[in-house]
């Protein structure tokens, strides 16, 4: 459905995104993950035709964004970082205006506006002026705006920013319910959001894709190394010995606590515990730590690659 080929964008000398390649299949929900300034918004702006790439190509449903922008834009609902709302309009009028802009069939406008209001739970404020709404409501109006033309593709740039936890849960549920009928690309730096909604994750850092996979296989791939969490009374004596031990990849010490990454072999765990007990170092705690998406993310974006 969306095909990004060799996409590069330069802002003057600065490289915002560098040679991106990825595909999004129909009906998929893809999370676009990356730290601030990684190039997420730039990529989304290029896909939606808001901005032109310096190099490369984006195909949406077979149409080139730059050559046939109208065809592409008909198929996309886009929520930018800041919801593009007119402060001096009423919520309902605004949504009707957007539906008209998107070229929705005149007979369907009323129905689709009602539907968008219902999906985003805006019934209570539909007759209020947008400037009098709180940030969270404005954000929801922004989401409703992206939904109102019932587009095949939804591109959401940090959709849950500024919402309260209950609304966040509602929006996530809404995004999940779109699965199958709509193709969704959402960007975020909030990890649980991706875990809760997305099937596939693209992690981007400094303008480059550092990982692209399903959530499950990303976690298993990272589990080539495992982590032990230890609490030891006399830390100093064992650090060096642990570091030298076969199978141990790294040791991080923080007061009495110690994180030991190892190769995943049970023998290694046995050796570690043996060493600490024999040394009389005072083992207080030993447990396995699951490496979550958060760790994967931090590792990928700080070391610069899975390889």
């Amino acid at each position: 459905m969306i095909e990004v080929k060799n996409l590069t964008k330069l802002y003057g000398e600065r490289v915002a995104i560098n040679n991106l390649n990825f595909k999004v299949r129909k009906g998929e929900i893809v999370g676009f993950l990356g730290p601030n300034g990684a190039g997420k918004s730039t990529t989304m702006k290029i896909i939606t035709g808001h901005m032109a790439p310096s190099q490369g190509q984006v195909l949406v449903d077979g149409f080139d964004v730059f050559e046939q922008p109208i065809e592409v834009k008909k198929r996309i609902g886009y929520l930018p970082e800041n919801p593009p709302v007119y402060m001096d309009m009423f919520v309902k009028d605004y949504l009707t205006f957007v539906a008209n802009l998107k070229g929705v069939n005149k007979k369907q406008i009323k129905e689709l506006v009602e539907k968008a209001i219902e999906k985003t739970n805006l019934q209570d404020v539909s007759k209020r002026m947008i400037q009098n709404l709180s940030k969270g409501f404005r954000q929801r109006v922004g989401i409703a705006q992206a939904l109102v033309s019932d587009p095949e593709i939804l591109i959401l740039d940090e959709p849950t920013v500024g919402l309260d936890p209950k609304q966040v849960a509602e929006i996530r549920k809404l995004i999940q319910s779109l699965k199958g009928q709509h193709t969704v690309v959402l960007s975020t730096h909030i990890l649980p959001e991706v875990q809760a909604t997305c099937e596939r994750i693209i992690i981007i850092n400094q303008g480059q894709i550092v990982a692209e996979d399903t959530l499950d296989s990303l976690t298993t791939r990272m589990q080539g190394s495992k982590r032990l969490h230890l609490r030891i009374r006399k830390v100093n004596g064992v650090i060096e010995k642990l570091n030298k031990m076969a199978g141990v990849t790294s040791v991080q010490v923080n007061g009495q606590f110690m994180d030991v990454d190892y190769d995943g072999e049970e023998n290694t765990v046995e050796n570690i515990s043996k060493l600490i007990v024999n040394d009389d170092a005072g083992l207080l705690e030993l447990r396995h730590e699951n490496i979550g998406l958060e760790d994967i993310f931090i590792r990928l974006t700080s070391e610069g690659g899975l390889q």
Binding site: T48, Y78, N100, L101, G103, Q145
Partner: protein
């Protein structure tokens, strides 16, 4: 076509509900009322004196309406920027411009829709301004055709201001900069080609002479609706709307 009208309708509603619109219209009507009444009084005094002395009958169109039209033009130069400055600048600043750019509409739709909104609003000023001479119909006898010709001229001239100011508005995110730019451009129209006749090149003289807005507007006020003047105004409007379209379009490839 639908997109143009959608944008024009929305923008017109925003402009017409802004307090600034009513404030500027208030200033305009105050000045017009004051000056128009004075010049009518003076005219009636002088024309009755002229009639008593057996002189030529004076023409209300040139003595009163001519001044009034000049005054309409003068105030509109400053009022239109106050309204049109928002057309694109504000959208750029608040991020709603992105909504237009990512909607399935062309840059031409955006430029024309915005122009139409600004122009419809400007027509309100012109209409209110011409209520003064039209109201005079109740107690004076004069050629309505002449007045309508001048009205057409002023409408076309206003169309030029709106196009120019729309272009200025598309250049910047700041409304303040936008209004300054608008006023400077509007005023400079009246001085820009003055004095071109001093050049020794005949062709250049003719070209510069044709580019004088005062001359073209003058034709209308004197009752001659010439095709060349209409085409002149329309082409200037087209030129600046076209420039605006280019600025809007440039957002896509910058």
């Amino acid at each position: 076509m639908r997109a143009i009208w959608t944008i024009a309708k929305r923008d017109f509603r925003t402009l017409v509900t802004s307090p600034l619109f009513y404030f500027t219209l208030f200033i305009c009507t105050s000045v017009w009322s004051f000056v128009f009444l004075r010049s009518i009084q003076e005219f009636s005094l002088r024309s009755s004196r002229a009639a008593a002395m057996g002189g030529q009958e004076m023409n209300i169109h040139f003595y009163v309406f001519g001044n009034h039209i000049g005054l309409i033009n003068l105030l509109v130069i400053f009022c239109i920027p106050a309204i049109t400055m928002r057309l694109i600048s504000e959208e750029k600043k608040s991020g709603t411009f992105g909504l237009l750019l990512t909607s399935p509409i062309t840059a031409t739709d955006i430029a024309l829709g915005k122009y139409l909104a600004g122009f419809m609003l400007a027509l309100i000023y012109i209409f209110v301004g011409f209520l003064f001479p039209l109201g005079t119909l109740a107690f004076a006898d004069f050629s309505l055709k002449l007045l309508l010709a001048s009205m057409l001229g002023v409408v076309l001239m206003t169309g030029v201001y709106v196009a120019l100011d729309l272009f200025a508005s598309s250049m910047t995110q700041s409304q303040f900069l936008s209004i300054i730019l608008c006023i400077v451009l509007n005023v400079s129209l009246w001085f820009f080609f003055q004095g071109g006749q001093s050049s020794s090149n005949e062709v250049l003289d003719a070209v510069l002479d044709h580019l004088q807005f005062a001359k073209h507007l003058g034709h209308f006020v004197y009752g001659s609706v010439s095709t060349s003047s209409i085409i002149f105004f329309l082409s200037v409007i087209f030129f600046f709307v076209f420039l605006t379209q280019r600025v809007v379009e440039s957002a896509r490839w910058r």
